[in-house]
Symmetry: C2
């Protein structure tokens, strides 16, 4: 039986999704919970990894089990075992052609900037940045929309052979309040650090340190070493994976 799980996690206390040694990671906690349920080591496949401190509201994973457990019972059981900063929202039994990563048609990420004073309760859920010209950022963010080679916005360690052409369907800024900005990015997929580096470039534009033509330049040069700001993971949320 192939199981598809949709889950939320607060990334604050995780060293990212993927297992690495004994660090506390989301994958490790899920594998531990599945081991309690089945007494087996189950291999799990996420739609993609999330970095250290990055949150998820709609991460999707799949895995195969011999057991046929009704979804509602499965959900209750795994949520009882998981720590309370991970929560399974939906359990579905899917066809074995389904793959959390390869079947994904698009992904939505959101990033939150708080323009106000620092608040210790929000410090792991937003980035505090002020003095931004939002009008300039509204113009600049549109430059990401469309099919581009995003290599210039990827991690500097990216493999040369990797396909870095991606399509961004939507990229926009919502003013949630006087003090809070929400950035929405929907696209076929995003490279490691891509959203945090696109956000970094937008902040440079908003602060007047770069012109919006800097974004076109990075897209054109395809060189991730052109220096630009990387925003931290705390403000970033994997919001939804569409299949």
């Amino acid at each position: 039986m192939r199981y598809k799980l949709t889950l939320s996690y607060d990334g604050s206390c995780f060293m990212g999704f993927q297992i690495q040694n004994d660090e506390r990671t989301v994958e490790l906690e899920i594998k531990n919970a599945l081991k309690v349920m089945t007494s087996k080591d189950i291999k799990i496949y996420p739609s993609g990894r999330t970095d250290r401190y990055v949150h998820a509201l709609g991460q999707v994973i799949h895995f195969d089990l011999e057991e046929d457990i009704p979804p509602s019972r499965f959900k209750r059981a795994i949520n009882n075992i998981l720590p309370n900063d991970i929560h399974v929202n939906l359990v579905e039994i899917v066809d074995e052609s389904f793959h959390a990563r390869f079947s994904a048609k698009s992904k939505e990420y959101r990033y939150y900037i708080d323009l106000g004073e620092e608040n210790p309760f929000d410090s792991r859920y937003v980035s505090y940045i002020n003095n931004l010209d939002i009008g300039k950022m509204d113009e600049a963010i549109k430059l990401f929309i469309g099919t581009h080679d995003f290599r210039g916005f990827a991690s500097a360690q990216i493999d040369e052979r990797k396909d870095t052409v991606k399509t961004v369907f939507e990229a926009k800024i919502n003013r949630l309040s006087d003090k809070k900005l929400e950035f929405i990015f929907i696209g076929t997929g995003f490279l490691k650090y891509q959203i945090r580096r696109m956000m970094g470039a937008l902040v440079e534009v908003g602060r007047g340190k770069k012109d919006s033509s800097f974004i076109s330049l990075v897209l054109e040069k395809k060189d991730p070493k052109i220096s630009h700001k990387v925003l931290d993971g705390h403000g970033l949320y994997l919001y939804k994976v569409n299949y």
Copy 2:
């Protein structure tokens, strides 16, 4: 110069206020920050300790420094050094008769219960409890108002000689939404675990496991060993100290 600081902290990642060995505590972080600023070990006095995981929106501390630093500059400097789950909201230079603990006239604590489904982003900021008869709790919470010997609601390890007579000025429940309850307690002072044990008793009443007369019984018997529920620290906030 005597400095009075009003601060907020997210208790999620602290083992309480008070220094204990090498654990991460609020006191340790503040002393470290003051050491960076002054190169000295400064003794600090809080209005009271908070337990593991308990949050603060208006904790108050005082300490003495030889240096005369303007409050606005002091605030900027210490906030730059402190980790981002502690934030100093206000710095004041006060008369040396001021004492954070002994000058306090009353304290306000708040506790939050979420009646809905668990959400990993809120799990460190509320207690999830459902099936509560709020009408019964509304009646029961009034029994705490007034001057009582609260020994029965203190930690079982409480010193026999300690004065446990306290006055509660206000105790009430606000329905913030269909799913969220706010409990407000204002009083001259609260014993270790007192709010979490009063909350535990209220939840027993709300669930129909105890009658509200149980609260009167615990107040009358003054025995902290009469078994009752203790709610966890995640839902508790030191909201304000009044001088």
